[in-house]
């Protein structure tokens, strides 16, 4: 295996734009671009990338321009994972047949996709890729909404979120379902590595990405991607919102190795109340009305329960 990049300092990180250009059409403050850069910056290896239809795709490859300086493909909304799996299969075939142009280089295969493209429509394709054990990394840019089509709910949208298809109104507090637990589902595929990451904890993220690149087999990374437009906060607050998410344990950072061994990788010194995170975003504003207090309570209870459960899984090594 080729040598990994050491973890750079923040300045190096922010100035290196090797393979993903700052020139793109993503909203100011969009966490998608931060995450992509952090992922690509974590390795020196050659990269073969795909993106599923979504904000990242439509904002970075608008003909005749491209923001990508690595081979990149977009097919459709649901099948980016399988596109990269197909390329990985071709790599294996050509290697066996001695037809690779650069036979001594081992590219990494990564598919980027939104939560919609991963939790919902693309789920079958990802599950298939993981069951077949392709050597690919699937990175979810989890902004908990279909942002590219204007902010509809996905199965990653958390309870109480107001979206265009689960709007809060006079008699509704918005989304009724809890967010789907994709990490457990993907770990249950027996994947060698699955992890949850957030762009504010970039060292943690880089370590996990490097771990992911070092294993054989499919790797699933769920990256929290704060969306200024649909979560309704100011562009300069992306990292602050991300901090609130990780410090309230709404978005816990952990990894599961070989489908079993769970490690929590970040324990906030001071855990902050969930309402501090919710209150900072327009999409949850209505939850602070008196009649919706039960949703806030349910939120906190759910986060407490999930954290307790994660810690028990870690202790038990399961």
């Amino acid at each position: 295996m080729s040598e990994m990049k050491k973890i750079k300092n923040l300045k190096e990180f922010s100035t290196s734009a090797d393979r993903f250009e700052g020139a793109n059409l993503l909203c100011p403050g969009c966490a998608h671009s931060i995450i992509v850069r952090e992922v690509l910056n974590a390795t020196n290896d050659d990269l073969i990338l795909s993106a599923s239809t979504g904000c990242l795709e439509v904002c970075t490859a608008v003909y005749p321009y491209t923001s990508w300086d690595a081979s990149w493909i977009h097919i459709g909304f649901e099948n980016g994972s399988t596109a990269v799996a197909g390329a990985e299969a071709m790599y294996k075939a050509l290697k066996r047949k001695g037809r690779l142009k650069q036979p001594d280089r081992e590219p990494k295969f990564v598919s980027f996709a939104g939560d919609g493209a991963s939790y919902d429509i693309g789920f079958q394709w990802i599950s298939g890729c993981f069951e077949r054990g392709h050597n690919i990394m699937h990175v979810v840019l989890d902004n908990e909404v279909y942002a590219n089509t204007g902010g509809q709910r996905s199965s990653s949208t958390p309870i109480g979120g107001s979206t265009t298809t689960s709007p809060a109104g006079r008699v509704s507090y918005g989304e009724k379902q809890h967010k789907k637990d994709m990490l457990s589902i993907m770990a249950a595929h027996g994947a060698p590595y699955v992890a949850q990451v957030a762009p504010n904890k970039w060292k943690d993220m880089v370590k996990k990405i490097q771990h992911g690149f070092s294993v054989e087999g499919p790797v699933f990374i769920n990256a929290m991607s704060a969306c200024t437009t649909e979560w309704k906060f100011l562009p300069e607050d992306t990292i602050a919102i991300s901090d609130l998410a990780t410090d309230s344990l709404v978005f816990p950072l952990y990894e599961i190795i070989d489908g079993r061994k769970l490690n929590i990788t970040y324990r906030p010194k001071n855990v902050i109340p969930v309402k501090d995170y919710l209150g900072a975003q327009g999409r949850f504003k209505h939850l602070f009305k008196p009649e919706n207090k039960h949703v806030l309570d349910e939120w906190q209870a759910r986060v407490d329960r999930d954290w307790e459960y994660l810690q028990r899984r870690e202790e038990a090594g399961v």
Binding site: I48, V62, A70, A83, G86, A87, A93, K101
Partner: protein, 406 residues
């Protein structure tokens, strides 16, 4: 290196075996596939070759046909020879990706064993699935028997992978009637077959790590039209000459001659049926019999459905007075596809033709020689009257009262 397989000069193969042998001989790099009747044996056979060392590519058994074509697209963009097979519902599920494959100019080969579309569920052959893909920017070739299924696969690779073409290509054959009917097939030895197609030459491949490429970009009103126009232009101007050249080269190699539009008994024909698939062979037999009776009846077989061979069809139908367009798919609210295409083609040919639409054989229903005799009799009456003497559209061989539309 894959082992060579010794073949007899003539093997008894069904259409599926014929297609899969061709895939083996051209040494596909990646097959991503999902089973569906009646095309399943094509990929099963391929799996067998792999298990026995006769091919050494990658075989991805995916979880759906949509994923099969998605995997083929990724693999093809990565720069190697790619093929798969499907039928019916599987083809329907693939349709989204068919457009994506052709829009990215990827030379994937898809063997489509044609079958009806549910509901009601039916595993037998008709051409309903074929027409779902007819505007998807793929080249479409049609085989009427196992020999042709074998031969046309080589033609498909040679044309699709040509750098001036770079478009995906389907090879169609009739479900069960061709796919499961064994006949003598003249073979090529492995080296000859491979050399006819040649080594795969990648272009803008994702695995050229020193030259990264972007595939499948976003284009809106400012570029989309140009891309589609270019693709259409290449289909309309480049593909038929390339197919003709491949046919010529193949004839030189094997003595087997193919034409973009196949004509049988068309010398001074007064009437003709235009059809595809196995019905062409039945029609040839009936026209032979009728010719012996002194009736000037011929057959036109559509060998290349896309790009649609306007000129060759007009040429083939010169002097013909009455034409029957035989459609093997449910028109469901309009004329059959062949009828529509022919009508559009003939409108500017400068000769008055009487064109009638016969819909037959849905879901595997037989088209018998008796049916064809009746059709020819009607066409001859039309030719003599110089106008339709029968309803414009008729459904052949349906139980119950005769169904026809004026």
């Amino acid at each position: 290196m894959a082992d060579k397989m010794e073949l007899r000069d003539v093997e008894v193969w069904d259409g599926n075996m014929a297609a899969s042998q061709a895939l083996r001989q051209v040494q596909i790099d990646v097959v991503a596939a999902y089973p569906i009747t009646p095309s399943t044996p094509i990929v099963e056979n391929y799996g067998n070759y792999l298990a026995n060392g006769y091919v050494d590519g990658e075989f991805i058994m995916v979880e759906s046909e949509h994923a099969a074509m998605s995997g083929c697209i990724g693999a093809s963009a990565a720069g190697g020879r790619v093929a798969t097979a499907t039928s019916s519902q599987g083809f329907a599920l693939m349709v989204e990706t068919l457009y994506q494959a052709s829009g990215m100019r990827l030379p994937i080969i898809l063997n489509v064993v044609n079958r009806a579309l549910a509901a009601p569920l039916n595993v037998n052959g008709d051409h309903s699935d074929m027409y779902l893909g007819r505007d998807s920017g793929w080249i479409q070739l049609d085989a009427y028997n196992p020999q042709q299924a074998y031969d046309l696969n080589f033609i498909a690779f040679r044309v699709a992978e040509d750098h001036e073409v770079r478009l995906p290509c389907m090879v169609h054959q009739d479900g069960f009637l061709t796919s499961h009917t064994a006949q003598g097939v003249k073979t090529l030895d492995d080296d000859t077959a491979y050399n006819f197609v040649g080594d795969f030459k990648p272009m803008n491949d994702m695995l050229d790590l020193d030259h990264p490429v972007t595939h499948g970009v976003q284009t809106e009103e400012d570029w989309h039209f140009e891309h589609k126009a270019r693709q259409h232009n290449d289909l309309m101007t480049k593909v038929l000459p390339k197919i003709q050249a491949a046919f010529n080269a193949f004839e030189k190699l094997t003595g087997r001659k193919y034409n973009i539009v196949e004509t049988y008994n068309m010398e001074e024909a007064e009437v003709a049926v235009v059809c595809m698939g196995t019905s062409v062979e039945t029609a040839i037999e009936v026209s032979n019999e009728l010719r012996a009776e002194g009736k000037k009846v011929g057959v036109i077989g559509i060998r290349v459905l896309r790009p649609w061979p306007f000129e060759q069809i007009v040429e083939a139908l010169k002097g013909v007075k009455a034409i029957g367009a035989l459609d093997r798919s449910s028109p469901n609210g309009t004329f059959g596809m062949l009828y529509n295409e022919l009508a559009g083609t003939l409108i500017n040919c400068g000769e008055a033709k009487v064109l009638t639409n016969y819909v037959y054989g849905l879901g595997g229903r037989d088209l018998t020689k008796v049916h064809l005799r009746e059709i020819y009799a009607e066409l001859l009456a039309n030719a003599e009257a110089g106008k339709p003497t029968t309803p414009m559209q008729q459904l052949i061989g349906v139980r119950g009262p005769k169904i026809s539309f004026h």
